[in-house]
């Protein structure tokens, strides 16, 4: 992502966001409600076109070829919109059809994911009877059904009971270890901390010495879009040194600053690729 800007009328949703997510990373988007997390995710999927800037997902520009982007990206929206008149199996079958999966592959994957998410017994029940957690799990199954290279999850742990949340977290970690790039959003710091080994930050007093990269100035909203990073397996884990963290981070930028010159861009420059130095 390079200098992504998006406005909704007079509302500045994203302003010059730049970062790079490596293959196999789990990256958490941490920010307050309305800070632009969902917008950023939709831009990555080609659902929303940025006003300015460049996005590339596995060599594909979603703004130019959103069909190709959707073939390699799996997306779970914050509020999954399922067809209540279908059963869990029928819904996943429909989603698999949209992705053009062969009948055998489709059946095998549906069985595999329903079993993995403890939904095997309820697979033939109508979705209208599913609890919120079960619906979340079906939505994650749908996002995974075509084995995406990049998985985008918008608030995946919202409303989940601890057991289900653990299943989802374990799945995310497993997928990342298999080489899937995972981008998930949350507005809860504790979740980001639990999921990410490091958070690039200095802005959060409770970040436990971890760093938070301030990506975009959102002075219009009075909020900052923050980004956490889980490094790939084998990467060196580096704790930010007190005082040293300030080298890479600066305070939140204000609207009106030139793109590329704001603290967001500065932070991105200081942390090429979003990685810790």
């Amino acid at each position: 992502m390079e200098k992504i800007t998006k406005n909704y009328g007079n509302v500045l949703a994203l302003n010059g966001v730049s970062t790079r997510v490596e293959k196999g990373e789990i990256r958490g988007l941490l920010g307050a409600n309305g800070s632009g997390k969902s917008t950023l995710m939709k831009i990555l999927l080609g659902l929303v076109r940025p006003d300015d800037g460049l996005v590339t997902v596995e060599e594909v520009n979603p703004a130019v070829d959103s069909i190709a982007a959707r073939q390699i990206v799996g997306y779970m929206p914050e509020t999954p919109r399922l067809y209540d008149f279908l059963s869990g199996i029928e819904y996943l079958d429909f989603v698999a059809d949209l992705h053009g999966l062969a009948a055998e592959v489709k059946k095998q994957r549906i069985d595999e994911y329903l079993a993995a998410f403890d939904l095997k017994e309820q697979g033939n029940d109508l979705l209208s009877g599913y609890s919120m957690g079960m619906r979340q799990k079906v939505a994650i199954c749908a996002a995974l059904i075509h084995k995406p290279k990049v998985l985008i999850l918008d608030e995946p742990l919202n409303g989940l009971d601890p057991r289900t949340a653990k299943i989802v977290k374990d799945t995310i970690v497993k997928l990342a270890s298999d080489g899937v790039t995972v981008l998930f959003s949350t507005h809860v710091l504790e979740i980001a901390e639990a999921m990410c080994q490091r958070i690039l930050s200095r802005a959060l007093p409770r970040s436990g010495g971890r760093q938070v990269q301030v990506l975009g100035p959102h002075a219009a909203l009075g909020q900052d879009l923050l980004l956490g990073l889980r490094p790939k397996a084998g990467d060196r884990v580096q704790r930010a040194q007190p005082g040293a963290a300030g080298d890479n981070q600066e305070g939140p930028a204000r609207a009106g600053e030139e793109e590329g010159d704001g603290p967001a861009a500065g932070a991105a420059r200081g942390l090429p690729g979003g990685h810790l130095p």
Partner: protein, 208 residues
């Protein structure tokens, strides 16, 4: 419900009886065309907005614009054609005539044409809201749908209507039907292209 359905039921029976009593081809067979046209128009117009917020499922998947338009147009074409086949099958039983197959073919053509007209309106003016109640299309589409459909259908069927109005012979009716089918083809293609363009816009950015 019985009372609600009684009136169209009576109309249909009267239509068929009048066809039979006239001893052959009657102007009332155009009613079949109207039923087919309205069925196709209604189903296709509501097919996009009827997705509600679940339209997001289609945005998440790699669905091409062409697939979207064809997928949405097929059910109303099929439903409309089924109505047409059923109507003219009954007509053939009640009042057999050489014209019936012509009208059957025309009705299937009208089903295709009206499906694409309705789809264009449905894509151009969708209403995805689900509360307080689902509307499927905006008020604008509701207001302009029937005049637009009547105009398009009128142009397409004008040769047949002229033939019927001047009570021309069977061979003239066949020629007029051929012209109408050609016009239906042209109109359908035009609305298909317009639907593709609108769908491209609709699918380029998420509307909800």
């Amino acid at each position: 419900m019985v009372r609600l359905l009684a009136l169209p039921g009576v109309f249909l029976v009267v239509t068929f009886l009048s066809s039979a009593s006239s001893g052959g081809f009657s102007f009332s067979v155009y009613l079949g065309m109207l039923i087919v046209a309205y069925t196709a128009l209604y189903f296709s117009m509501s097919s996009v907005g009827a997705e509600g917020k679940s339209i997001l499922n289609l945005y998440q998947a790699p669905v091409a614009t062409k697939d979207f338009v064809v997928g949405k147009a097929m059910p109303p074409i099929v439903y409309g054609s089924i109505f047409g086949v059923a109507f003219y099958a009954i007509t053939a039983l009640v009042s057999p005539g050489a014209q019936v197959p012509l009208f059957l073919i025309l009705s299937i053509g009208i089903a295709v044409e009206m499906s694409l007209v309705g789809l264009l309106l449905g894509i151009r003016f969708p209403n995805f809201s689900e509360s307080p109640r689902a509307n499927f299309v905006s008020q604008t589409a509701g207001l302009i749908a029937l005049p637009v459909a009547a105009a398009v259908g009128g142009v397409s069927l004008s040769p047949v209507l002229v033939a019927a109005l001047f009570k021309l012979g069977y061979s003239d009716l066949v020629a007029a039907s051929g012209m109408s089918i050609a016009l239906i083809g042209v109109m359908s293609y035009l609305f298909y292209r317009l639907s593709l363009r609108q769908a491209d816009r609709l699918l380029s950015q998420i509307p909800i």
